[in-house]
């Protein structure tokens, strides 16, 4: 049985000044909303954050930026955030841009004990500068190294007390790889269900990757509501 937290601040207590933190989500979808608020409350500073995006100005990881808790951000797309831009230009924030697929694979590698792998993404671009380029079967590839974190924060739709997680639709995104790549992984879940309720064939993240759980009410802000008219 995993540790079940009752406050978000307690759930993120392993995140300290200078910690490396991975956070699941794509845009605002699938982010552990309340765990991020927990970091804001904790005040932990000089963080290195690894996440595909960095939230928006007033929600998600954007709140940590606003609070100047992040020293370095590793992600693939950070264009939704004006404060991000300001801090980069002011030299307050270091940013390491990584192709999205390489980012996902680097995180997977971190959880999977693969120290490095070759990928075609980025060959011949600024991203490959300073990295080893190697030919396989007549094609060039760049060597990318694994990423891990002191603490990983993910969000799931359902979980049991063994830490087994199930995600909903595209809220899965980076969460499974991030759950596996953290030395400590805390999952914010919409619903904690009884043992045996989750089908073993349907588990997305097995409990071995999860050290703590907490239930959280989600706002689930929509960035770009796009609808069609009822017929």
């Amino acid at each position: 049985m995993k540790k079940i937290y009752t406050t978000f601040q307690e759930a993120v207590k392993e995140i300290r000044d200078h910690s490396t933190v991975m956070v699941g989500g794509f845009g605002l979808v699938g982010i552990p909303e309340n765990l991020i608020l927990g970091i804001v409350e904790s005040g932990a500073k000089h963080l290195t954050v690894i996440s595909n995006n960095c939230g928006v100005d007033d929600w998600g990881l954007g709140l940590l930026l606003e609070n100047k808790q992040i020293d370095k951000m590793i992600g693939s797309y950070v264009g939704e955030n004006k404060e991000f831009e300001r801090q980069v230009l002011a030299g307050e924030l270091e940013v390491e841009l990584t192709p999205q697929g390489s980012l996902a694979e680097k995180i997977r590698a971190g959880g999977a004990g693969i120290p490095a792998f070759y990928t075609p993404a980025g060959v011949g671009t600024p991203i490959a500068e300073g990295k080893e380029i190697r030919e396989f079967d007549g094609r060039e590839y760049v060597l990318e190294e694994a990423l891990t974190a002191d603490v990983s924060l993910v969000r799931a739709a359902r979980a049991d007390r063994f830490g087994n997680l199930v995600y909903n639709k595209t809220a899965r995104n980076f969460n499974p790889e991030i759950a596996a790549a953290g030395k400590v992984t805390i999952a914010e879940v919409e619903e904690l269900v009884d043992p045996g309720e989750l089908d073993g064939d349907h588990i997305h993240t097995p409990g071995i990757y999860v050290q703590g759980l907490i239930e959280g009410q989600q706002e689930k802000r929509i960035e770009r509501l796009t609808v069609r008219q009822e017929a």
């Binding site: 794509f26 845009g27 605002l28 979808v29 699938g30 595909n52 992600g75 693939s76 797309y77 950070v78 264009g79 831009e85 980069v88 230009l89 940013v95 841009l97 192709p99 999205q100 697929g101 390489s102 980012l103 996902a104 694979e105 995180i107 997977r108 990928t119 075609p120 993404a121 980025g122 060959v123 011949g124 671009t125 600024p126 991203i127 739709a157 995600y167 909903n168 639709k169 595209t170 809220a171 899965r172 995104n173 980076f174 969460n175 499974p176 790889e177 997305h204 689930k220 802000r221 929509i222 960035e223 770009r224 509501l225 796009t226 609808v227 069609r228 008219q229 009822e230």
Partner: protein, 225 residues
């Protein structure tokens, strides 16, 4: 709407409709954010096409009715979508495994510059704020065919199809075909090959508005779209 804006919309639709003809029934396709996403609106009925979204959705359906909106279900442009009846979800690493492993038949992406050798630049302009490449650098290596759709010239009237890219690259030698408001051009081992000219343009006009040398195809189609 001003005439200029209207013209712009008409032009984008023209490009998107022409790009749709690249899609064959049975194809798995990734459409980039922006104009490429529009291509989905023009897919001919009867074509069975599976659209992939790199955030982990294989089988994008139409936009949801208001009552169907699920905040956990978006495309890579962060727009709310639905899933098709064949739709399945996967993690980001699995999604890019699918892309990088060249399981997609086609990707249609936007471009800032394309060079004669197939180099593509579409992710950053030095001096402007960096937003990031997202999945573009993976996708350009990840489909059997890469089609770039863009305006033939910049808003200042300068060519975007160049001898060499001036902007930082997204991928080296990755483009197979370029579709603009003026022409369809293939990247071949011998350089660029002009395959079609759009209605309202002459071959000479296309050549004049292209910095890179253009070979004209023997089977050139004029007023092709």
């Amino acid at each position: 709407m001003s005439t200029v804006k209207q013209d712009k919309a008409v032009q984008r639709e023209k490009i998107a409709r022409r790009a749709e003809r690249e899609i064959e029934s049975g194809f798995y396709v990734n459409l980039g954010i922006g104009m490429p996403t529009m291509v989905a609106n023009y897919i001919q009925p009867g074509k069975e096409v599976v659209l992939q979204s790199e955030n982990g959705l294989l089988g994008i359906g139409p936009s949801p009715y208001e009552s169907e909106v699920d905040p956990d279900l978006i495309n890579a442009g962060k727009e709310t979508v639905t899933a098709s009846v064949s739709g399945s979800y996967c993690s980001s690493a699995e999604s890019f495994a699918m892309i990088r492993g060249e399981h997609l038949d086609l990707a249609i992406l936007g471009g800032m510059e394309v060079a004669a050798n197939g180099d593509l630049a579409n992710w950053m302009i030095p001096g402007k704020v960096i937003k990031g490449m997202g999945g573009a650098m993976d996708i350009v290596h990840g489909a059997k065919k890469i089609v770039i759709i863009m305006d033939h010239v910049s808003k200042h009237g300068t060519p975007k199809i160049l001898k060499e890219c001036t902007l930082p690259l997204t991928g080296k030698g990755v483009v197979d075909r370029i579709i603009t408001d003026r022409a369809v051009i293939d990247v071949t081992d011998a350089g660029l090959l002009l395959r079609e000219v759009a209605e309202g343009f002459t071959v000479q006009e296309v050549i004049d508005s292209t910095e890179a040398p253009l070979e004209v195809s023997g089977s050139l189609k004029e007023a092709g779209y």
